[in-house]
Symmetry: C2
Subunit: 232 residues, 2 copies
DNA sequence: GTTCTTATTTGCGCTAGCGCAAAGACAGGG
DNA sequence: CCCTGTCTTTGCGCTAGCGCAAATAAGAAC
């Protein structure tokens, strides 16, 4: 795999970086390829690299002492991950990153990253902006988990996923997502059983079409209505 | 109220700022005094200032469309708040800040803040570090809410509060907190009733001593045990 | 001291959502 | 085409936690 500085422009945080900086970044990083279901890093590992997903798909998750896990984010090409650990000196990753399909990522050394941030206020600023938006999302999801019913949270998750990774098939054919019931449960703080029951119900009502690890959204508007709790 | 540059050194993000920068900050900011139960800003307001609490105590909270609210953080002197909105140009505050007692805060113009961050990589870096730690906390709380039982979450909240704001009375007399049952409920995503029942139970067992808007932790170790779910 | 307001406790009934268990339904490999 | 592993569905029973309502307690105001 050969990356050019131009490719890196697709990374939000590097959109304002100079050509020189981009070249320097490439020089100080390596490509890591990870097979489906394998891991980029585990929660608790020393954070030696900041990653940028190049191809494939991955997920960021966190588990508690007894092994239950929650899904923090699904990662798509050109998104950054592992930043939380890598920004602070001698930090550890607070989450685990697992490849959902064969994937590759650019791994930037955290030592180099520190130097880069010190010398480039632009990149720092853009990274900070990214972090603020991430905090906002976490706060919103936290509030959702604390105050909304399962039904609303699952509807919300589908809407959010549709926006992030949804592939629009032929026009009006709906938005297709590739997640298992278990995945959705981990994203919304509920169980695989409850998700299955909800999806079956919505399918009966014609809002979605389900399949093995597939959910096709037919009537986004109805999901929005459910998410807002106007149902019932 | 008269603040000196030296006072500002107590702010985590400004610990590495130069004397000149600190003076500039003071020059470009004003003091706002807010009475108990009044507000610094509301969720949705245009974010014109970044605040630093000087005296008093405040809380950051977020509400959903139907008015239910969750408590994001309790603020103590020299802590920063409103940063999420103020860092991005033309942003809005994603949360509401309310004074828990008569309070005052330094309000730094967001326009000036942008310039400051552009010119000072040190401050940018420290702010970024603060944000990473905040993201980590939110992720941990999110996971907690998704996977732990109410009992564990409440125990955890008390432990966390004791670390942040607890006042140790005479030795061995316990750590005293000033929060209502409602406050604790909003921090842990449960209801005032459930919190009341739990606290009563723990008081019967001698772990804590309760009072009107007061919770004194007598046996922190027992709470830790509950928080870890080893109970039962 | 009396009154008012606000916080807390607790009984009680209820239901949303959990989670086991067992039975399909798919998809891929050989 | 069959076998195997994984994902999904659904019946069933259960309980953690919700939330009303009413009583009580603790300050605050006068």
């Amino acid at each position: 795999m050969n990356l050019s500085p131009k490719d890196l422009k697709q990374v939000v945080v590097f959109q304002n970086a100079t050509e020189t900086e981009l070249q320097l970044i490439l020089k100080n990083s390596i490509i890591r390829s990870i097979e489906e279901n394998e891991f980029f890093f585990f929660q608790g590992d020393a954070a030696e690299y900041l990653y940028i997903l190049i191809t494939g798909q991955a997920k960021l998750m966190q588990s508690n002492p007894s092994g239950q896990q929650v899904n923090l984010r699904t990662l798509h090409p050109w998104q950054m991950f592992g930043a939380l650990g890598a920004v602070r000196a001698e930090a550890i990753y607070p989450a685990t990153a697992q490849a959902l399909e064969d994937s590759s990522a650019l791994a930037i050394e955290s030592g180099f990253l520190h130097k880069l941030l010190e010398t480039s206020p632009k990149i720092s600023f853009d990274l900070m902006t990214l972090m603020t938006s991430y905090i906002q999302e976490m706060q919103a999801r936290y509030r959702e988990l604390a105050t909304e019913r399962v039904e609303q949270r699952v509807a919300n998750a589908l809407i959010r996923l549709a926006g992030q990774s949804g592939i629009r098939a032929e026009k009006d054919a709906g938005i297709e997502l590739s997640f298992s019931r278990q995945d959705v449960a981990e994203m919304t703080g509920t169980t695989l059983y409850t998700v299955s029951r909800l999806l079956s119900d919505w399918e009966r009502k014609g809002y979605i079409k389900t399949g093995r690890e597939k959910i096709k959204i037919l009537k986004p508007h109805d999901l929005v209505r459910i998410a807002e709790g106007l149902e019932k």
